[in-house]
């Protein structure tokens, strides 16, 4: 098996390893670095559980080779800050019961952190935006309600759409987006 040399900064620490060329970034952080907070839910780029930040952008670490990330700055869930918006997001996720089994949670935190820290993003995203941005992450336990509420709270956005009989805002909302989603 051909080995390659990879050198990258992971959670602020410079690491250098010789790994088989086929090693994915996910296997690299999990098996080589012992950072097991990055979870593998499908290994074909759909579920989003393995999301990490590479140079500030979220990527699916199951679809990227470790060699491709050579030279990059990688942040896994373990390296997300313990203050500021990410800390508030963790707190809000817990209060809104945005997690049950917690397997998908790391991926959601990574993707939501990207949304919350994106300088180009709208100041206070509405529910439709939050849902669209996070639609690449799958949660099988919660029905997403608590996750959406938590992200909206931290983003300083509006309240969530009604669930029962309250009238909806015009257009957008979960229903409109659902049509697109179902066509996957």
């Amino acid at each position: 098996m051909d080995h390659v040399s990879v050198r990258m900064t992971v959670n602020g620490v410079l690491v250098e390893r010789q790994v088989p060329a086929r090693t994915s970034l996910a296997d690299f952080v999990r098996d080589e670095l012992g950072l097991t907070g990055t979870h593998l839910g499908c290994e074909h780029g759909v579920c989003g559980a393995c999301a990490v930040l590479v140079d500030g952008s979220s990527v699916r670490s199951c679809l990227m080779l470790a060699a491709q990330a050579s030279g990059a700055e990688v942040t896994t869930v373990e390296g997300l800050p313990h203050s500021g918006r990410t800390a508030r997001l963790r707190d809000a996720m817990s209060r809104h019961h945005g997690l049950q089994c917690g397997f998908c949670t790391s991926g959601f935190l990574i993707t939501a952190t990207e949304l919350l820290t994106d300088a180009d993003a709208v100041e206070a995203p509405d529910e439709g935006t939050v849902r669209e941005v996070l639609s690449g992450n799958v949660c099988r336990c919660t029905g997403y309600q608590g996750i959406v509420r938590a992200v909206l709270e931290v983003a300083g956005g509006g309240a969530t759409a009604p669930s029962g009989g309250e009238p909806a805002a015009r257009g957008g909302g979960p229903g409109a987006a659902a049509t697109a989603g179902q066509q996957r």
């Binding site: 088989p20 999990r30 012992g34 950072l35 097991t36 907070g37 979870h39 593998l40 839910g41 499908c42 290994e43 074909h44 759909v46 579920c47 559980a49 869930v77 963790r90 996720m93 817990s94 019961h97 049950q100 089994c101 917690g102 397997f103 998908c104 949670t105 849902r131 669209e132 996070l134 639609s135 992450n137 799958v138 949660c139 099988r140 336990c141 919660t142 029905g143 997403y144 309600q145 959406v148 969530t160 759409a161 009604p162 669930s163 029962g164 009989g165 009238p167 909806a168 015009r170 257009g171 979960p174 229903g175 409109a176 987006a177 659902a178 049509t179 697109a180 989603g181 179902q182 066509q183």
Partner: protein, 780 residues
């Protein structure tokens, strides 16, 4: 919050689990595999075939491969897993229940019965090498025609799939009461329909996995497995291998979702520890997604032929159903699924006469286990679809026909002339099901459709409602253990493993309530056969009811005994000692607390040598307790694509006392999300050759952020006297009525014509065709 005199039950405390899960410090199965060699299974590529030979030579020769093992190599030739459930003999007799044991081999060597069935296992230095080697194992097959339709499988001339069985019938059941034929004669309207619930399943985000570590010091093997039922895994493993219980510890790490697929015992859970002991190596098997979607237990897959007779006012006169369950190549839970289906067909209504026959069939599809609801969603779909059909024929609204038939406070408790699966006569122990119905309609009335219409110009909007019953908290028992630690804190263990349900939080609340301490002084371990020798597990909406009650009993007994010890420390009479939030108080006002008590057991302490404060309790419920609920939904059907979007959703349910209301609500909402998936998206499909074609997440569609709307939940507090903490189960309830409610809403949206939803997942092409026919009819 410190200990106070308010109850810890009923409080939505934040979950103890969250801190580690939100910082990437959860420990799921794959995270515990360090230092292990890796297993990869060689699986059948044929749905039905004789195995002529298995050649392992080239695989074994690959550098890094430690062993390639077949059933014979492992001493498992002919070994099979035991069935996991048999109904009570009293129930079996009344329902003429019969079942067969498919005895599916743990590793196939003679014949294969589904694609994905394990044939051999490769153990190698790395997962990569193990996979490479598995591809080098040559299995020579003699292809046999696959049987993929359950009704065809039950035909007299069908080829039998399991050589030792005379037919493909996995089980049969008959449930009935009243004179159906006589009742039907008085009917104003009789509706008959064939209703299908497709094959889909739990699909937790974490796949399965097993780590077996050989402990030579203690002459035992430690099996870490991503399961909901560690004790049943231990039992099955011991039964198959002949190992004594104390040679096997089964323990559960953090589990990334279960929903029933992990309330099963799997061949892999036997093979990995047997191989580990044989090779003397610690072995990890971590399933990948494609493997899961081919070979882990699936669910549902039922066909119902139903007939409902009602009088001119819509009152149910008789209800008949003949159903078939496709359990694939094997199910260790056939009895539970077929019995659940039959019993839950009664719904929360006055049904004076019923005749139900059910059969389960073997086919060449993947094995089946209980999936959230386990027969209840299927039963609900059959009954609710027929109620909608009858209402339509009578010109009544779906709401009206339900209000006419729903049980009210005058009817409840409502005994039924048949026993539950535990042999105890059924009696619905609710308060007022019609009131619950009205409460749901208040949250989400039909008029919301009209209010929303202008927001969705490309959609036809429809409204649907459905009700369900759920027997929860099935016995026979569960174990709880509460132990005072030297620090004055406590450790709790139960047989109910958590797969995300928040047991660390809820069981701590239950114990804290009895011990009069803050829950943060209590740690709850996950399922483990070491601290708790006998247990059953987490499934069938039973953990809060059974394990919760067992923890309550153990903690209460511990507190009682502790009062005696406190009296010794206070040099007073136990009768004069009262346990409160501040500790144990003598009638003269002197106090010792749990920390004092714990310290007194130490060397030289006043309680040195006394039996420790460590209580084990079993809770055995007399029978199940019933949860009833109502779902209402507004959907939008896109006119061009036929795709259905769920726009509004509301659930009202008659639950019991709640340990942690937010966790209960989360269970209900999560269940609805899975129901939406089953109604609109999810299906395990098979080619005519029996090849599974839903083996990626591009083919097996899970509901995402944009498919699940906010869901409103109203909890009607109706505690039960059936257990000491008054709780009813709610784990499955969210999933049950979603299928029927969404189907009704799609009907309502598409409106008129002969077409109705009779099959889920709802096929957009069928909806589109119905819309086209409607447009054509309007035009002509």
């Amino acid at each position: 919050m410190s200990g106070s005199d308010t109850s810890w039950l009923g409080q939505s405390l934040p979950r103890h689990e969250d801190q580690r899960l939100l910082t990437g410090r959860g420990r799921f199965l794959a995270d515990t595999a360090r230092g292990c060699v890796h297993a990869c299974f060689v699986r059948s590529t044929q749905a039905h075939a004789r195995v002529r030979s298995v050649k392992t030579g080239s695989a074994a020769a690959l550098p890094g491969v430690l062993a390639v093992l077949t059933a014979e190599d492992l001493g498992l030739d002919g070994a099979h897993l035991p069935m996991l459930h048999e109904p009570h003999p009293g129930f079996a007799e009344v329902t003429r229940f019969a079942m067969s044991d498919p005895r599916l081999p743990i590793l196939a060597s003679v014949r294969v019965h589904y694609v994905g069935q394990p044939i051999a296992v490769v153990v190698a230095e790395s997962r990569h090498v193990a996979e490479d080697a598995a591809e080098l194992v040559e299995v020579e097959y003699e292809t046999l025609p696959p049987v993929l339709d359950p009704t065809a499988a039950l035909a007299p001339d069908a080829p039998t799939l399991h050589a030792h069985l005379p037919t493909n019938e996995a089980a049969r059941i008959e449930v009935g009461f009243g004179d159906v034929d006589e009742a039907r004669r008085a009917a104003a309207v009789t509706v008959s329909d064939t209703l299908r619930i497709g094959r889909h399943g739990a699909v937790p985000l974490e796949c399965r996995g097993v780590v077996a570590r050989v402990d030579d010091r203690r002459d035992r093997v430690e099996v870490w497995t991503s399961t909901q039922i560690p004790h049943l895994v231990q039992q099955a493993l011991c039964r198959v291998t002949g190992w004594a219980r104390d040679e096997v510890r089964v323990a559960v790490p953090d589990v990334g979702g279960g929903f029933g697929t992990k309330a099963n015992v799997y061949a892999e859970e036997v093979v990995v520890p047997v191989a580990a002991r044989k090779l003397g190596r610690d072995i990890a098997w971590v399933e990948d997604r494609q493997e899961y979607l081919m070979s882990a237990a699936q669910g549902r897959d039922q066909v119902h032929h139903a007939t409902l007779a009602v009088d001119a006012n819509g009152r149910v006169l008789s209800w008949e159903d003949d159903f078939v369950v496709d359990v694939g190549a094997s199910s260790l839970w056939t009895a539970g699924i077929i019995a659940n289906t039959a019993i839950h067909l009664m719904g929360p209504y006055r049904v004076p006469a019923m005749r139900v026959t059910g059969r389960a069939a073997y086919t060449n599809k993947t094995i089946v286990a209980q999936y959230r609801g386990a027969g209840r969603p299927e039963a609900c779909f059959a009954l609710e679809r027929c109620l909608d059909a009858a209402a339509r024929r009578l010109g009544m609204s779906p709401e009206e026909i339900r209000r006419v038939n729903l049980l009210t406070a005058d009817d409840l408790p409502y005994p039924r002339p048949i026993p539950y699966r535990d042999g105890v006569p059924i009696s619905y122990d609710g308060r007022d099901y019609r009131a619950c119905f009205d409460s749901c309609l208040e949250m989400l009335p039909r008029t919301v459709c009209d209010e929303l219409r202008e927001n969705y110009p490309e959609h036809d909007l429809g409204y649907g409602v459905a009700t369900y019953m759920e027997a929860t908290g099935r016995g026979p028992y569960e174990t709880g253990r509460v132990r005072l630690l030297p620090s004055g804190r406590f450790e709790v263990a139960t047989g109910a493993a958590s797969a995300g349900q928040g047991h660390e939080t809820t069981f701590a609340q239950v114990a804290a309530d009895a011990l009069r301490v803050s829950p943060d002084r209590i740690r709850v371990g996950n399922g483990d056969t070491d601290p708790v020798t006998y247990g059953v597990g987490t499934f069938a909406s039973r953990s809060a009811v059974l394990a919760g009650s067992a923890v309550h009993l153990a903690a209460t007994r511990l507190a009682d005994r502790a009062c005696g010890y406190a009296a010794m420390l206070l040099d007073t009479d136990a009768a004069g000692v009262v346990l409160g939030a501040g500790g144990f108080r003598a009638d003269d006002g002197r106090v010792v607390d749990w920390t004092d008590l714990a310290a007194a057991f130490g060397p030289g302490g006043r309680l040195e040598g006394q039996p420790s404060l460590d209580e084990l309790a079993q809770f055995r419920p007399q029978t199940v307790t019933w949860t009833m609920g109502v779902h209402a939904v507004v959907v939008g059907v896109h006119r061009d694509t036929g795709l259905t979007s769920v726009l509004r959703y509301a659930v009202a349910h008659e639950g019991g006392a709640e340990i942690n209301p937010r966790i209960v609500e989360g269970q209900v909402i999560g269940g609805v999300a899975q129901g939406i998936g089953g109604a609109l998206l999810e299906e395990f499909r098979y080619s005519p050759e029996g090849q599974p074609t839903s083996t990626t997440f591009a083919d097996y569609l899970l509901p995402g952020m944009c498919e699940v709307p906010q869901i409103a939940v109203k909890h009607l507090y109706v505690p039960t006297a059936g257990n000491p903490i008054g709780v009813r189960g709610a784990g499955e309830s969210g999933a049950i009525a979603a299928y029927a409610a969404i189907a009704a809403a799609v009907d309502d949206a598409v409106g008129g014509g002969d077409w109705r939803v009779t099959s889920v997942p709802i096929a957009p092409e069928q909806v589109r065709a119905a819309i086209a026919r409607r447009s054509a009819a309007v035009a002509s």
